[in-house]
């Protein structure tokens, strides 16, 4: 019984931690959307825009991945 409570707590905690991925998803969407608009209006600067987009996406993605790591640690590392 006690073990079941622990497992349930872990699962709930991991799920709540993954809520953090929301922000990352929104951020990546905004960044890529803006970059695509910029590329469409200004195709000559596609290379520069792409580089900066990847940089920004990586930063936004990092937040989501932190959430993922926290949730994985809750699931598989906490004992």
């Amino acid at each position: 019984m006690e073990e079941a409570v622990v497992v349930a707590g872990k699962a709930i905690g991991a799920g709540l931690a993954m809520v953090g991925a929301l922000g990352g998803g929104i951020g990546i969407g905004l960044a890529v959307g803006g970059a695509v608009q910029g590329m469409a209006r200004n195709p000559d600067h596609t290379g520069t825009i792409q580089t900066n987009m990847i940089l920004g996406v990586a930063f936004a993605e990092a937040v989501a991945i932190y959430a993922l790591v926290v949730s994985l640690i809750i699931l598989f590392v906490l004992s």
Binding site: G47, T48, T51, I54, L55, A58, E61, A62, I65, Y66, L68, V69, L72, I73, L75, F76, V77
Partner: protein, 391 residues
Amino acid sequence: MTLNWSGKRRWIALVLVLASLVVMFNWPPVVPVIQLPGEIYPAGEVFGLPITNTFVGSMVVWIVILLLIRVVSGRRPRDGGEVPRGGFYNFFEMAFEGLYGFIGGIAPERYLGPIFKMFMTIFILVLLSNWLHLIPGIDSIGFLHPHVHKVEGHYELLDGFDLATLGGVHYLNGQCPWVSPEAVATMSDEALQARADAGCLSGIPAAEAADDHADEAADDDHGEEIDYHHLEPGDPAVPWVILPYVRVPSTDLNMTLAFALIAVVMIQVMGFRALGISYLTKFFNFSTLFKSPLGGIDVAVGLLELIGEMAKILSFAFRLLGSMFAGSILLFVISFLLPVIAPWPVFLLEFFVGLIQAIVFGLLTAIFMSLATVSHHHDEEHHEEAAAGAH
């Protein structure tokens, strides 16, 4: 090599799909043990280090890189020859030239050499590590290992599976969750019969000889220790799990943290190389402290930059680890739930995720190195630098 699907290849694919269906129903797959640290080989320690399967994966990557070096330097055109020297070499050279131009658009001309070499080394190492879990068998074929956990001086049994035997080879039977001998005693006859029909070993009433042993083991749980590392395979007294021979090295924090440390240290080295000791003013900026009413903010910003450098280490390490570890788990779970067709798109996804993570790791390093070569506090110096770069 051209892909030709009009011939007998599609029949080969169909046969493989049917074969995987047969395997799925007769020997269902099991979820491998999911744990963050690399699983330790039973063989023991080398020079005080327990061998982990992620380290074995790293060694596979290093060997592949040595082969790559051998092939590329062997096929490289000498004495200005331009005759193509084989498909792989040409492909590698094309990719190399493309990435060289790509980094050339980011890095300042003066430091293009070291920045590109850093980028390329990280890219190759991370890419090969990430792509390792696309190879069948890696992450899924391994030792059978008794699943025990040492808590406060004694072993506790964890969830695992029964073993089955086919032609002298033991394998995990996915249809048989392991039950302890005490639990078997309380099970109904129908449940026991169902287990026997499924071919499960533990808890079968017929296995009297094993039963005594199991009782002993159960008694010993609270008294003397069982030698869990020298159990005969197939012993129904303990649950068994698969310990993969090779695991993707980028799911091990040791590798990603090592790369992150190298990247951040090289960023600082590049900053000192380009700006000299004045690079430190990026972090300890006291020049405006007593001249400007906002001088204190500059000091705080510098300290934040310092913290940011520390955060870069964690960011680099956990970005790669997180996406690769999650990808591995995704592959385990999809392969466990529906092993026939469902994993194919996931493999494709993992192919791209591995490529993108490798590019992001290398590209972020290259961008931070490029940014470290320009001074933010002295704009006139910046312009001089840019002008020098333009010439």
